[in-house]
């Protein structure tokens, strides 16, 4: 079963085995506006939970994507590199940004479930 968790900074983590697929939520892309560039991390970069993992640039501003979990970057999304607008079109799917090899699966427990993230979004309105 594919588990998905969220952070209050609007990143998501989709767990696929021992890999964490990381992106920004649909809410985040909508707030950001048209994405024009994504600065991706280097393959092999070792991230601690909370480190800046990537930067998403919209027409108006730059926004950090923070690593929701710790681990080594094993893949970055070349499609999003070539076509940053994918993040607006399909943030949760084809617009994923990076994949981290999970250093500590226990970190997932402190992240928000999809239901809890939805409830969190309601408080922001």
């Amino acid at each position: 079963m594919t588990e998905i968790r969220f952070t209050k900074d609007h990143e998501y983590v989709r767990v696929e085995g021992d890999l964490a697929v990381v992106g920004i939520s649909d809410h985040a892309q909508e707030q950001l506006g048209d994405v024009v560039f994504v600065e991706l991390p280097a393959i092999g970069a070792k991230l601690a939970k909370g480190d800046s993992a990537a930067v998403v640039e919209s027409v108006k501003a730059a926004s950090d994507v923070f690593a929701p979990v710790s681990g080594e970057v094993v893949e970055v999304n070349k499609e999003v590199d070539a076509q940053p607008a994918l993040i607006n079109e399909d943030a949760m799917g084809r617009g994923w940004i990076l994949k981290i090899k999970l250093a500590d699966a226990g970190e997932l427990a402190s992240l928000l479930s999809e239901a809890d993230y939805g409830a969190f979004l309601q408080t922001l309105a």
Partner: protein, 376 residues
């Protein structure tokens, strides 16, 4: 949600009704973008017609016994030639301080058929300062009248003239050349119109009573060619057009020559002076300024934003980015900034410090996107 201290333009309720994402600007709650987003609004303006609410800007008139008196009064504060401004024409200029630094930039128009009147449009963020400055520096025969009960909207883009003509088929709008001004009856609305704008496109700026602004805007928006445009796209449009934004490319430490605005200082004034900071302006005209406003194109796809340091190949400081972002019509990141004049030649290689790393870039000619003014 805005707090009680935030100001609203006459079109505020309309923006909210249209689903605008609102944000603060110069003390006003303004539309930053509407439903389709900044990119789409920007591209719509360049291909069809965009309607902008700019009612937050300051409108005023100078009134005196005759044109020469009023023009001379303004010439004591601004470096442009207003004496020679013909009826029905508008001119761009700046209010300068004693060091030649820009207090604000503004449009000055001479309404046709009314002697002794000049209309002013100034920036929202500076209007309080501007009006105090003007009021304190006018001769007794000239008065400043704030026109706070007027709204101001801009209709910009290749489809703007046709859209406006549909409201005033005999209004003579198509025949107006760039920087012409005239009163026009648009449908049932009495307006004062200039053929000018802040996007680089052909278009008009329309001043009309605040209590008619919403009905007028709705009338224009009913035209399928016209879409509402927010401040986000207004900024990307003017950046592509290479136009200065006060507080970025202009401030009280920057003179008009460094800012690349020498063209707005007509010859007689360059020679005669008689405006604040004339010595600095004349020196910069004679010897060239020490630093210059330039366009900058990053080599890659990462934008550089306002405040980014500009350095040379060895990392030595050359200047700073004053505006930067993505140009939707250019399809690439663009920026403007100031660099030491020796490094200001188009094509010169520079680096922009972004997130602690130097990004390769080149000085670029301005504008980034060609102007489409109706020169007639």
């Amino acid at each position: 949600m805005s707090d009680s201290a935030t100001l609203h333009t006459p079109l505020h309720a309309l923006h909210v009704e249209l689903g605008a994402r609102m944000g603060p600007f110069a003390g006003y709650d303004m539309p930053i973008q509407y439903g389709t987003g900044i990119l789409a609004e920007h591209l719509h303006t360049r291909s069809r017609a965009g309607l902008f609410d700019v009612s937050h800007m300051g409108q005023a008139e100078l009134v005196g016994p005759d044109h020469a008196t009023v023009a001379a009064a303004l010439e004591r504060l601004c470096p442009a030639d207003f004496l020679g401004l013909a009826p029905g024409r508008q001119r761009y200029s700046q209010l300068l301080n004693a060091e030649g630094g820009v207090i604000d930039d503004l449009m000055v128009s001479r309404p046709p058929g009314a002697d002794g009147r000049l209309n002013l449009v100034v920036n929202a963020s500076r209007k309080a300062i501007d009006f105090v400055l003007l009021q304190s520096n006018l001769p007794s025969s000239v008065r400043l009248i704030r026109l706070d009960r007027l709204a101001l909207v801009a209709l910009q883009g290749p489809a703007a003239v046709a859209a406006l003509e549909r409201l005033a088929p005999d209004g003579g709008l198509a025949a107006m050349s760039f920087m012409a001004v005239q009163p026009v009856r648009l449908d049932r609305f009495t307006a004062f119109v200039s053929r000018s704008g802040y996007t680089g496109e052909d278009g008009f700026e329309i001043s009309l009573p605040a209590d008619e602004a919403e009905a007028f805007a709705r009338r224009l928006l009913a035209d399928p060619e016209v879409a509402p445009i927010g401040l986000g796209a207004r900024d990307s449009l003017r950046l592509e057009a290479g136009l200065c934004l006060y507080g970025h490319e202009l401030d009280e430490t920057i003179d008009p020559i460094e800012a690349g605005l020498a063209w707005s200082i007509q010859k007689r004034r360059r020679v005669e002076g008689g405006f604040p900071g004339a010595a600095r302006v004349q020196a910069a005209l004679a010897k060239g300024p020490a630093r210059q406003r330039v366009g900058i194109r990053p080599d890659g796809r990462a934008p550089a934003r306002e405040g980014a340091e500009i350095v040379d190949a060895s990392g030595a400081p050359l200047g700073v980015v004053t505006s930067g972002g993505f140009g939707p019509s250019v399809g690439a990141p663009i920026a403007m900034g100031y660099v030491a004049s020796a490094a200001a030649a188009p094509g010169a290689a520079v680096s922009l410090m972004v997130r602690g790393k130097p990004l390769a870039a080149r000085v670029s000619p301005l504008p980034f996107h060609p102007h489409a003014y109706h020169r007639g």
